[in-house]
Symmetry: none
Subunit: 404 residues, 2 copies
């Protein structure tokens, strides 16, 4: 990972502005009529120019052959070794919807589900109830009172919600209550170590009240809880890199991981296009040194297995790119958190095409455009994703010399 001792020693609060543009799941595999990856098939004149002028290469999210989830993949791009810094899904979800709390709080992800008369799960997603319905149910659950702890429940989207427990002496080492299959009842709340017994009891008490309140709310007459976790108290961008950093993302989990590393989450709208997101960067341009922009739909179309749709998502980003470059960032990095080849319909381990553009500050390579094969010939080479932040800081003139 980025050497945090060195970063703390060398990073200085002056120098240029940095944009990290992440197209989720960007990397692909040869496919389609011309046997090109999605990025290679896409018409991306702006990125091609940046790859020619700048430094192109391939980044390795976690390690050779390792397929990352989005959480670890983002941590890595932010410079944190995800094997050292582990973030629970519950706290990621909670922070993603703005439920930041104290370091001792415990958060979990919840799914409303449908139970039959025997209490067995028949639909793990409660028929994908609309978000408004989920919000009403969360209001109902907010009336629960448990002595000795404060609770907060908030809807995320459709059947998903987040639960937070706030108080002293809480311990997040609890097992999921989701049996991961239908035909079984939600599991009881179980402590994974003795210190978590009290917390398990509090969550069990909450669960019993909640089950009673939901009984008449078929198809959302039950729920499961997963990913119990607390704020991992990560080093923050300002302390670590001397950067005032902002996040422009549409999906909660990317906002969550950004919040956990100390970025401000800028306002966004669920329907924001890439162009809208880039404009939001412009609106906040003077207030920050670093912008993380997260584009979700490249990954979504990859997971759908829709080659042409992923190509088009990439093209939309490229078409909007002049909005970002017009801001004249000192460093612009374009990459993905991992690969999501449409022919695999899922995340993969393949290295991610990456370009670093920092006018006047980089070598020439031989890449003639932005794509997996061209990136093999670029001057960025092969780089662990965790090294992108030191490179960004260096190219922005924000790192002092090491030793005399």
């Amino acid at each position: 990972m980025a050497d945090f001792d060195l970063m703390r020693e060398l990073a200085q609060d002056r120098g240029g502005k940095i944009i990290l543009l992440v197209m989720d799941g960007l990397g692909g595999l040869p496919d389609g009529p011309d046997h090109l990856t999605e990025l290679e098939a896409a018409a991306t004149p702006h990125m091609d120019r940046l790859a020619r002028e700048g430094s192109a290469g391939l980044s390795i999210p976690i390690g050779h052959g390792i397929t990352p989830g989005s959480g670890p993949a983002h941590l890595a791009m932010f410079g944190y070794d995800p094997r050292t810094y582990v973030i629970g899904r519950g706290v990621l979800e909670a922070f993603g919807i703005g439920m930041a709390g104290g370091e001792e709080d415990v958060a979990a992800r919840g799914n409303f589900c449908t139970l039959d008369e025997d209490g067995l799960i028949v639909d793990r997603r409660a028929g994908r109830i609309p978000t408004e319905e989920g919000e009403k149910l969360c209001e109902l659950l907010s009336t629960i009172e448990i002595p000795g702890v404060e609770t907060e429940v908030r809807a995320v989207k459709e059947y998903r919600f987040a639960l937070a427990l706030r108080g002293a002496g809480l311990d997040p080492h609890l097992a999921d209550t989701d049996p991961q299959q239908t035909g079984k009842p939600p599991l009881p709340v179980v402590a994974l170590r003795p210190a978590a017994e009290r917390t398990a009891g509090l969550v069990q008490a909450w669960t019993e009240q909640a089950r009673a309140l939901l009984a008449d709310h078929h198809p959302a007459n039950g729920f499961t809880l997963r990913g119990f976790s607390s704020d991992p108290n990560l080093p923050k961008y300002e302390e670590l890199y001397k950067l005032r950093a902002a996040c422009v993302a549409v999906y909660p989990m990317y906002k969550g991981v950004s919040t956990l590393v100390g970025m401000d989450v800028l306002p966004s709208d669920p329907d924001d296009t890439a162009a809208d997101q880039f404009k939001r960067v412009g609106q906040a341009w003077e207030r920050y040194d670093f912008f993380f922009v997260h584009i979700k739909y490249t990954d979504s179309r990859g997971e759908d297995g829709d080659y042409q749709a992923k190509v088009e998502e990439i093209e939309k980003v490229d078409a909007a790119l002049p909005i970002l470059t017009a801001l004249a960032p000192d460093v612009l990095i374009i990459t993905g958190d991992h690969s999501t080849p449409t022919r695999l319909r899922t995340h993969s381990w393949h290295p991610v095409p990456t370009l670093l553009w920092a006018p006047g500050n980089h070598r020439r390579g031989a890449a003639e455009g932005f794509g997996e094969t061209e990136c093999l010939r670029g001057s960025l080479g092969w780089v662990p994703a965790t090294e992108l932040m030191p490179l960004a800081l260096a190219h922005a003139g924000r790192l002092a010399k090491y030793g005399a």
Copy 2:
């Protein structure tokens, strides 16, 4: 860093001879009329041939994005992780001018400076007095006697000198007395930990006598001390790599770091050209297994920002190269300790063009010459600078097989 346990286990005292030729600050950035780096623009027929025949690549001095000082950069090339093995500037300076001493001795760098009537610094370099003047002042300071400790003072160059304290129970954890700006007095000698209190007292006593002796020697009527340090007791080349090693360098600090890793420093003259330095290798050829040759002026011209002058320094080295190759080394590595692009006028983080030539012992790459872009296509690939020594030993047939 090089795996020292493996080196100790596998290195054998037989095999070929190795030359490590370091052009300080070799790496550059595209610039000049043809948008080429300094190395690319230079006419280097000999190095181009070696790059074609040999193994070309790029070395990373410390880490991605990290700009090294010369001390850490050289340690890395010698195989030592500079984050593990830290050398103080005082001991580096002292060893560089041949003041090697015991492991408990404490050394510091001194600058003569000019004080006004209130004792405030008005010139931190004492008007850059000539070296001969500095030598006379050091003779004067050598008359100081402090009970309980021996002191040695030697001129380095112009206004610079080195001070060594020799005795038992000394501790180098003292703060610099240089306030780093004019208009302030030199700082008192302060211990950074209790164990250094006695040493602080000794240095303070020396300082008071020295101040009195210098009072009438305007513009060198004061001084500051920096970089208090002791011999870090690094593993030595002979024990680690089974190499009798020699250093050919003109500047003291490179002699210092070489001495600290156990190299013999060969005689040199401050006016030595690259050709002179190469001839010195030839004169000692039979006595050593390994030669480190340090060329300073590539870095100096880089720091001057003089593109054409750096190009010419590289060309001088190339023109003299047949003197080295005529010695028929088994392994010749040509690299830099770091990059010093003339357009940045300072050290930088960019990877360093590197070639390893070991006839009959290496792969073919596609590099057609020695330059930053061609090195992207070479068979050496991207390599941490700390791995150059294991590679040199291997190509010289000096490393046994690991395991059966």
